[in-house]
Symmetry: C2
Subunit: 166 residues, 2 copies
């Protein structure tokens, strides 16, 4: 488990291998198991496998171009009114669970941010106009089997560890 | 790994058993391994084991009373200017990594929110006045070996799973 956490990294190049529905369901179960403020469970997950939508999103979202080549993706969003102050934190924990579950299944994944960027949100809403306006969109996670070797960054930094005071 | 994600839950009652420094370091390594926006690495971690500070925080933070009885705790905070828009998302992913690493080591943990509640932030700043004002405080995670059996909530909800549209 610790190794999975330490070995997870953003994967942006994918093979064409199909991800099984059963594995997508495991990723979603992981998302649902995240902690959330006041048990709000504000999150919703939209599984993407429609190539037309994914291509259009990939071509119009600067930092999510790999959506065009991903096998599937999960869009993480939330009913704002269920957690107006904390939806983005709850959905961040859920997103991290999805990334870790993907890593443990050998599936490459990457958090591509939508929130808090208004221009990115507009692109998503234009391509997926049925998402209600009171639903906030945190991120899209492209998914696919890795086509390239991983490059894990060492981010541990002892100068950022403090004891009882800053 | 998937089991760890699915079995994690908030633990609020602890035994007096000491948590080894080596295990605290593993939790911190997990925190540092989280994804972050634009590689900002804005996070800092303050390990708490000073009983005076922990008792005062526990007595003054409504939802974090268990800090009084926890063996140790990790306060997750961030240099705001390194990720002004995304520090709370980055720190949420780091916090979830810490919670999962704790679960995998058999250590009980719980995300007690500080952000976005101004009153809670004031309590923390009063007790830890050396935290710079440009450092944002996301949460405090009390840590201890579980004193009670876990109660895992089933949060999976098929009505929150969508396909290509809302």
């Amino acid at each position: 488990m610790i190794d999975t956490i330490l070995n997870r990294c953003s994967i942006r190049k994918y093979t064409e291998q199909n991800i099984k529905e059963e594995d997508i369901n495991t990723l979603l179960r992981a998302g649902f198991a995240a902690p959330c403020s006041k048990d709000s469970r504000c999150w919703h997950f939209i599984v993407l496998d429609d190539k037309e939508i994914m291509t259009s999103l990939g071509q119009n979202l600067t930092y999510a171009h790999m959506l065009e080549y991903a096998n599937k993706a999960i869009l993480v969003c939330a009913e704002r009114e269920k957690a107006p102050l904390c939806w983005s934190l709850d959905c961040s924990a859920a997103s991290e669970n999805i990334l870790l579950a993907a890593e443990s299944l050998g599936i490459g994944a990457c958090w591509t941010a939508v929130y808090p960027y208004k221009d990115r949100e507009e692109v998503v809403r234009k391509n997926m106009p049925d998402i209600p306006l009171d639903v906030e969109i945190l991120c899209i996670i492209p998914l696919g089997y890795p086509a390239k070797e991983k490059r894990i960054k060492e981010k541990y930094d002892i100068s950022k560890i403090h004891r009882n005071k800053w």
